[in-house]
Symmetry: C2
Subunit: 556 residues, 2 copies
């Protein structure tokens, strides 16, 4: 089979104006970025806000393993399949980050015959959203250091500046730095850190903002530091939220592209899935719902993190009512959950597969706790055997859950017809009774406890002294009434990446707790979270090239 980039470059893209027409939009509703990318003009909202919402479908997965699940590929392929069976459908995905493209080979725009295009553009500068977020993040940093330098009227404690600089590059040397060196004219020396742009709170804010004014309000709320009396200092105290909003005036507009089979794709916003909530923007999802009968979207990592945060954070703030969940699993990953080593996954192994099904089972249970109907999608690999597929099917039948084999990577939309038909059947017959899992006004510990016990299946939570102190302080400052954003390993239901399957009897250890007051959630850290990746020994950048005809080589 051809490589992803060969398939993408062979795509017969339609002009984006035609894709927009499929959604009932005219050229005047678009801001074009070349022929195949557009942003939706903000004026469109007034025209469509009275439309009935389409049905919202979340694609999530079992806990990922080194074998890969292909959640984005299934999302794109399912959208294409829905289109093939005559449904008016859009997909909603996150925007990929530029930095990692030059690290390890591989983009983030689906795969095989289920990709979004133009994939090189989407993986490079796209419509400039990432760069706008970087600039906004760093304008705030400059304003903080300038305030300190110019007299520090707010008495910012230079040892407690929480706001970090950002850059969309994999650069370990920027993880920990000292700025302001070289004497009085260069500001006040202090320790600082760079995040990769997708880890910036600005990204999370952009994705949770309802509109431009809500964006400004949230930007103003960001807690950038503590002062010498231990009070939070916010971005609005620096009078910088207006300028920050201006820098994001275009970034906030949803982007429209298409899949290989010309299905409309909204690709907008891409927050980290650990220290943030890992979903595309609320605005893009709302536009898609008003313009389509079905919207297929996805969330980062497995259902214990991605779906939980999609429901408890994104749906809470966006007042979204998801109608169904597609839970993606691969036989290879299930076998790893059952104990298989990575190098024997190509061989049939019924026993480990059966053992590994407990991870799928728990994730099905979890979706049920939110009141949303679920269908399992087996993302097919060429090495899967019929015997193995039957095992998953019969277990799902026992659980009363529909399951479909999905071959969208290999075949595009036609490979997902079975899944699309089962999904439509569920949407027509099973009513979603969506509810969030906890009341945000509960104490921080009570909320964490619910997530750990209900979703992860743990027996309790332990807190380090650092976490205890952070929770106490947030409580004292009345900053604790926000949803929780768990930062946990994606590989296990527990906080130990090596405990695969369905671990039992474990406790989760919370190491630290932080607030993202602009985004509007409390970040709960379990274990080390890397917010600035590094490049490998031989970065893919060394193979990447462009020739005199403008052809791109070595990108994926």
């Amino acid at each position: 089979m051809k490589s992803d980039i060969e398939i993408a470059q062979g795509a017969k893209m339609k002009p984006i104006i035609e894709i927009a027409q499929q959604l009932g939009l005219g050229e005047e509703d678009l801001e074009l970025y070349g022929k195949y990318k557009a942003k939706i003009s903000p004026e469109v909202w007034d025209k469509i806000k009275g439309n009935k919402d389409g049905k919202l479908v979340l694609v999530t997965a079992i806990n990922p393993t080194a074998a890969g699940e292909g959640k984005s590929t299934v999302t794109v392929g399912l959208g294409q399949a829905m289109d093939k069976i005559g449904k008016k459908v859009s997909i909603c995905l996150r925007e990929p980050s530029l930095g990692p493209v030059f690290g390890i080979k591989g983009g983030a725009a689906g795969g095989g015959y289920s990709q979004v295009v133009p994939m090189e553009d989407i993986n490079l500068h796209f419509t400039g959203d990432m760069h706008a977020i970087t600039a906004t993040n760093n304008l705030l940093s400059a304003a903080i250091d300038n305030h300190i330098h110019q007299g520090n009227e707010l008495s910012i404690d230079v040892r407690r500046v929480l706001w970090k600089r950002a850059m969309d590059v994999n650069d370990r040397a920027l993880r920990q730095i000292v700025v302001g060196l070289g004497g009085k004219t260069n500001g006040m020396p202090r320790e600082d850190n760079f995040l990769i742009t997708v880890a910036s709170e600005i990204m999370a804010i952009l994705c949770l903002a309802k509109d431009l004014m809500d964006l400004k309000e949230r930007l103003g709320r960001i807690i950038v530091a503590y002062d010498l009396k231990n009070n939070p200092v916010r971005a609005r105290d620096l009078k910088i939220q207006g300028a920050m909003t201006l820098l994001l005036k275009d970034a906030i507009k949803p982007n429209l592209v298409q899949t290989l089979e010309n299905v409309p794709a909204f690709i907008h916003g891409g927050p980290f899935a650990n220290i943030a909530h890992g979903c595309n923007s609320i605005m893009a999802t709302q536009y898609a719902l008003k313009l389509s009968d079905y919207v297929i979207t996805e969330a980062g990592f497995g259902a214990d993190l991605g779906a939980e945060k999609f429901f408890n954070i994104k749906c809470r703030y966006g007042e979204l009512k998801p109608n169904a969940v597609v839970l993606v699993a691969t036989l290879r990953a299930l076998k790893m959950h059952g104990g298989s080593a990575k190098d024997v996954l190509d061989k049939e192994n019924v026993d480990t597969l059966k053992r590994g099904l407990n991870n799928l089972e728990k994730q099905i249970e979890n979706i049920g706790k939110f009141g949303v109907p679920v269908v399992v999608a087996i993302n097919s690999f060429l090495t899967d055997t019929q015997e193995e597929v039957k095992i998953v099917e019969s277990r799902c039948k026992e659980l009363g859950v529909e399951v479909a084999l999905c071959k969208v990577w290999e075949k595009g939309g036609p490979g997902g017809i079975q899944l699309a038909e089962k999904l439509v059947d569920i949407l027509n017959t099973k009513e979603s009774d969506f509810k969030v899992l906890y009341d945000e006004s509960l104490s921080i510990k009570a909320k964490i406890d619910i997530i750990v016990k209900e979703i992860y299946g743990g027996i309790g939570v332990e807190y380090t002294p650092r976490a205890e102190k952070a929770i106490r302080e947030l409580g004292e400052q009345n900053l604790d009434g926000l949803p929780i954003c768990m930062a946990k390993t994606q590989y296990s239901l527990s906080d130990d990446p090596h405990k695969l399957g369905r671990p039992q009897g474990f406790k989760v250890t919370v190491g630290d707790v932080r607030i993202s007051a602009g985004a509007g959630f409390i970040v709960v850290l379990t274990g080390e979270i890397m917010t600035m990746p590094g490049l490998p020994k031989v970065p893919s950048a060394e193979k990447i090239d462009i020739n005199e005809k403008g052809e791109i080589l070595g990108l994926f």
Copy 2:
């Protein structure tokens, strides 16, 4: 009179497709960025490269003073005036930098009724060129630090990494930093600096590249560090020039916008005018020349720096043959050169004006040394008196130089008809005999000597020990055969900003010499050059806002 932004927001812009049609381009030749901005597709070059070149006119100025000269305004207004008298004209300007917009109020897109639009976009993210340059600059930085971290096969001396990180923000705290702290996983600790993006060598390279392959070649040539044996280490040694070129594949395409009077404006590239050459891109100028009968462009600072570098660097590499020069002066600035204080410039003062004319006189002489005909434009202020104007006119007559009063700030194109007509007359009657001032194969000191004596009117050059050593090393490594890029104060013909008028008998002191091997010039530093600005006590960012209708407030 209205403010710049009020005038700009009231502009009757034509769709950029119509502006392109004025140049003979169709929609298929453009990559649209919304309705009013476009990039020219690279395929266009093959269609137009056989066209006859239009006439190239450089707008430059006397040495700037605190009173301002309005070079960009005259460039835009002259373009509009040429259009008014029926000429097929384009203008070529530099792209403004985003960072300074949030520092001190004021954009960089002309003024009054002679502006380029959409001016907010041009001053903010525009078509993303600055962000692409930032990303490219910092990918190279990441590659350098990653190489060191991963074993340092090239034996890069961490004390002699020349390449600096870049960001498009005014942020003094980033001027001098230490990176790579926090232990082994975070790379090797070393000192580093951030430049503002327009000061990055990538910007100069983009502006001097003839095409995509020349760009790649130049990027590969960048000297990023010295190794432990004192040999230069280049970007190509890190195998990173292909990925860097890919990041710039769109940035290299010229941008097309329009003036308030719908004249085509190519705004592309904006290198620093001190450590770089301060002109828009060669590619944009070449496209404009093939698509118009007249091209009006400008260069940074006064003619001693801007025009000298335009001729000796840009025209040399671009094989451009300028046909005429417009030398801009204001009576206010001439009075400052004659000794007036800033607060009495509004009053008539014939004596100081007469004294200050020697600056204009020297700049006229200098243009003559390049063999290019010159016309003087008096950029009119409402406080100018008739008596004063006559003094300038009669001195120009004595010198055999045409002069025209220019009211384009107040009146737009109609205010520049006199200038346009005189310019056309010169273009029709005086043949340009353009030549560069020196052979690039001369020694570094010989080239500096020519510039200082011929252009600045100095009597000699002194070198600090540091500069002597740098020149010796570049010679030993056969890296000295490049044009010179002088970094000198813009306020004086000498290297002392306080010596106004036409200083005599001075020597210039060279403090350091560096190579920009990718851009292809030797940077000669006289005095301190600031490559990362800071924010003022009350940054304009505090006043900038955007309201719920998307209206921008406080920007200019």
